[in-house]
Amino acid sequence: MFNKSFKLSPSKKKTTENGNKDKTQEKEASESTIPSSSIAFVQAIKDATHHPADLIVKSIPTKLTIVYIDNLVNGQTLSDHIIKDLYKNTNEIPETIKSQLSIPEVKLSSELNQAVSAMLNGTVLIHTEGYTQVVLANISTRESRGLQPPENESQVIGSQVGFNESLSTNVSLIRRFIMNADLCHESFTLGEQTNTSISLLYIKDIASEEMVNTLRQRINDLTVDALLDSSVLSEMIDDNSLSPFPQMLLTERPDRFCEGLLNGKLGIIVDGSSMAIVCPQSFIEFFQSREDQNLRWPIASFLRLLRFSAVFLSVFLTPLYVAALTFHYEVIPQSLLVPLSESRSLVPFPPIVEALLLELIIELLREAGARLPTKIGQTIGIVGGIVIGTAAVQAGITSNILIIIVALSALASFTTPSYMMGNVIRVIRFPIIILAGFWGFYGIMLAFCFLLTHVIRLSSLGSPYTAPFYPPRWIDWRDSIIRLPIPFTFSRPKSTRAKHRKKYEPEPIKPEKKLN
């Protein structure tokens, strides 16, 4: 009877997962042991990995064989700490090797599968002739790009470091921000082909157990072939995957991620992806920038209000133009109507065609700008913006005023601090323009009501998407479309169902501090 999207755990493909488990168990039973002879061992490894060209096998007198994959291991460590040690060493029992190697992560294993998957992760396998155990020495190294400022979420004030594609680097960045033993880090593996590592992070003392369980459940229930980016994961574990609106935040800023964790949210990092997932996220939070916390509160509030009005402007300005000029001339005052009709006097199309044409051109420019290399992208922007714009007006295809309106709404849609949400705003404009062309203000209102209903129906990890406005949580309004000074915003948002609602006990506010 109630909203379906409020269900906390969607059951997704449980049966297939069980089926896969059975299969892997069978496999393990048939070929899991490690042969005692070196030659058979190397052959087994080669068979398991289908004779890769980068597999390196090296024999060390008298009984040792080491196997690893080139470029996955750190060459310096390999020669300094493994090969050197092994040459010196006379005792060749795996147990002793394990205890004597000067490397932090050394394990023993007697299962071939485990050894192979460890090798694919950058582990050196050390096999002794005559033993069915093998030493796994982890000296993996990953090629990753250095830390760079976040490109899509740049900020004037605040930390200038962004996530990169390495999971371990990203987790270490977060640990730098939150030096807390309560910071929980759970690891998952997803993707039957890719075996991508995923980390779920939350602060035990703050995050709601129920939400953690739900999210864990959703990740465990997934069966995917490959997972190449976190955005795909976020779409799969969203409450409503069919909605155009993202229900989880994708961010490349560690500070934004940590802010979420500190508010009781949960974070997911996917290996190989520079965007991290933060959830639950309410609609309004997509329009808040991390920078708002760094600026003084009146300025931050002003910027937030500006951004929210920009969203409305961006979505409704062009449709209003179309509606007014197609159906409701009476609404436009005389003094404004004259320049409007003057500029439209040469245009041969009805307003809806004119508007759609220009919006499409802007979208084309934008898409071209995003695909081209940075340097050419700028040039294309200038060529497109100035040349096409001016020429279109001079050729009499569009009116001057529409160019201003379209440019304004395009500009406004860039102010959204989340790229995913910015895209939604950019796209939902089109159906509204078309409705405005058919039914004028009625069409716009219809679209608005549909959007409003849709947004109310959505939820993010079971908590309402329209929070804190509806259901009304008055205290959270202090940090919503405006931001009150820090002494007033002492509570965590209720939508995260944090264990401790207050960040600290508020003290009486002293406006001015006097020197003693």
Partner: protein, 369 residues
């Protein structure tokens, strides 16, 4: 009680939200043109009628809550079944259900008429009906949480309409209000009765009540909501009485919209065009709640899913909206509906309360014996 509704705490709403629910279900199409109807009976004392009608809503709401409080968590349909037994109870439920659908239909029809008269003369009725119905179906199938959400946002987003009354204030003269109490009492009372169509909506508390979390706070928020409505109507009535002349008000069907006519901004004229389209947001919670209330009645008698009920009622509404088309027909239907609504909303709760009290006394005696 045997009929008590078992609810998941997640499905329940805060008592604060009742304020918005009550207020937004009352304010809808009625406010667009209630001035003329009341004025015809009460003349320039119409504002007293508005006050009286507001007072009546408070009294009735008080009695309604008393009745509901006797049953810890039950709606009107369950109370009917408990007080009158299964057969008569279900018969009464049917009547209430039909009343809800009729209210739904009337609101929809009136709004479409306003749109056709003011904004789009040439757009087909069926097209407007179909689009609105689709929107409502989408909202109602989301459940009470979504409907109450719409009420809330409808209130917040329409707050800006209130200050718009300042524009016509410039052209008002309060001399037309005097002398006070010139019309006789009967006229004023009759005017108050004419407010029925405009002021109903709060009776849906009967159905929403079991879904409220803090039952103790219900009273406060319901009465606040009613007060807010009365103040709104009073303001609109006072401004209209002083703005229009006597003859004008008698002829103006949609006085509120005509009031908005005067509003001018540097970039917008003929403000009522915007306002009428914006009114969709105001009637949306109205429509959704009536439809939802009808659904609650249906599931008391038949085991059926929300989606089915909503689609069936929407389809029936769509068909019947093709029958009633002209202004006179709509007016007639409004009058009939207002008549029936007066008895269902203002008279019946008193009777039901009396019956419930009697039944309780009767059954407690039985238990003692």
């Amino acid at each position: 009680m045997k009929n008590a509704i078992q609810l998941n705490p997640k499905d329940m709403i805060n008592a604060v939200l009742l304020f918005f629910v009550i207020h937004t279900t009352q304010v809808g199409v009625g406010i667009q043109g209630f001035q003329r109807i009341v004025y015809q009976d009460a003349k320039h004392d119409a504002w007293i009628s508005v006050l009286l009608a507001g007072l009546a809503t408070h009294i009735i709401a008080f009695i309604m809550i008393k009745t509901l409080e006797m049953y810890s968590s039950d709606d009107l349909y369950g109370i009917h079944q408990d007080v009158f037994g299964k057969w008569i109870g279900n018969f009464l439920n049917c009547i209430y259900l039909i009343y809800c659908i009729a209210a739904f239909f009337t609101i929809l029809k009136n709004y479409i008429e306003v749109i056709q008269t003011w904004v789009f003369q040439n757009v087909n009725t069926w097209l407007l009906t179909a689009t609105l119905l689709l929107l409502i179906i989408y909202a109602v199938t989301g459940g009470l949480r979504v409907i109450v959400g719409l009420s809330f946002f409808s209130f917040i987003f329409s707050l800006w309409l209130f200050p718009m009354l300042i524009y016509p204030l410039e052209f008002t003269g309060n001399s037309s209000l005097f002398p006070i109490l010139e019309s006789n009492m009967a006229g004023i009372l009759k005017g108050a009765q004419s407010m029925t169509f405009t002021i109903i909506g709060f009776e849906l508390l009967n159905v929403v009540y079991p879904f409220v979390k803090e039952k103790k706070k219900v009273k406060k928020h319901v009465h606040l909501g009613l007060l807010m409505t009365t103040i709104t109507y009073l303001c609109f009535m006072l401004v209209s009485l002083t703005y229009f002349s006597e003859g004008q008000l008698n002829k103006t069907i949609w006085a509120t919209l005509s009031l908005f006519n005067i509003i001018k901004f540097p970039f917008i004229e003929r403000f009522e065009y915007l306002a009428i389209c914006f009114w969709m947001l105001l009637i949306l919670p109205n429509l959704c709640l009536y439809l939802w209330a009808a659904y609650r009645g249906v599931i008391r008698m038949v085991n059926i899913s929300l989606n089915k009920v909503v689609w069936i009622i929407a389809f029936l509404t769509f068909l019947s909206s093709q029958v009633i088309q002209t202004r006179t027909e709509i007016n007639k239907f409004n009058d009939y509906f207002a008549h029936v609504a007066f008895y269902i909303v203002f008279v019946y709760p008193i009777f039901l309360y009396a019956m419930a009290v009697l039944k309780k006394k009767f059954s407690s005696k039985k238990e003692h014996v």
